[in-house]
Point group: C2
Chain length 178, copies 2
């Protein structure tokens, strides 16, 4: 578990691996992205993708799964305020095995919220050939280390957690504009 | 179905509505974003979100579902090369009813790919109170209208579709850097 003070630019975090199955590509697409190139091998062959390809949002969701199970463990959980950039440079195919690598690019305390800060992280999802299939630069909200220590600190952090909630929108806007 | 020439900045597209159920928030999170604030009401109450909230990637996937069923119908399908900006200004809650509004911001032909172009689109996902829950600015790859007309044109467009495929990565890089 890392507080804002534990992060610094240049730190890298790796993940495990996740296999992509044709059946899940299709069932995800059926619910969320029902287009022929995500649903049916034959129709996908004649499309832009020249074969069945996972929805980009499926790739994003699988990457989140890898991220949550990765070495990157901010205190309070992985809470994304948003992203500045997302690219899908090549399709994800049935049988691909994905993993991800994250790198901390920036660490900054929040001025209006002295109990939290933001880390800017670039996360690259790669297939079994080491080719990037998704690159995104996201902003994660991370707690600052409580000033006091021991059990009282833990209790104080919990109270702070409750106090933050009504300002979610404000925090995120701050992040977006800073 | 719209070719690149049919789009212009300022055009707006609306969607239908989609209800968000607590059970699907949790099952989506179980597979892709297994963190307490997406999985369990009690543990979510004491978290940043102060109550069960959908994963941002679930919101993104639901938005894609709305987008695919919306009035926005580019020729060749909705093919995202990536996006420049994504924000989740407030949480999506069980019982929310979402819809989206898209606006075309830019239309530009691709220089290296004369048979296609890119439209830059801002998509805002709103809840039943008209409050934005997600805003993203994405780049969609759209076919240009084939030069010839009639059945020959359709046949030609199909051949072009096949010819594009090996350059997916190149197209996307072009979009990213242009």
């Amino acid at each position: 578990m890392g507080y804002l003070e534990d992060f610094e630019p240049g730190q890298k975090f790796a993940s495990g691996r996740l296999s992509v199955e044709a059946a899940r590509i299709k069932s995800f697409a059926m619910e969320f992205d029902p287009q022929p190139f995500h649903l049916d091998e034959d129709r996908a062959r004649d499309s832009f993708f020249k074969g069945l390809a996972a929805s980009g949002w499926h790739t994003a969701a699988m990457t989140m799964r890898l991220l949550v199970a990765s070495e990157l463990k901010p205190a309070g959980g992985i809470i994304g305020a948003g992203f500045d950039e997302m690219r899908w440079p090549r399709p994800v195919r049935p049988g691909d095995e994905l993993h991800m690598e994250s790198e901390v690019l920036e660490v900054r305390p929040s001025k209006p919220r002295p109990d939290q800060g933001v880390i800017k992280v670039r996360t690259t999802t790669l297939n079994q050939n080491g080719e990037p299939v998704q690159i995104f630069v996201g902003h994660l909200i991370v707690l600052r280390r409580p000033v006091s220590s021991g059990r009282m600190a833990a209790k104080s952090a919990m109270s702070e957690t409750r106090a933050w909630t009504p300002v979610i929108a404000r925090s995120c806007n701050t992040i977006a504009s800073s």
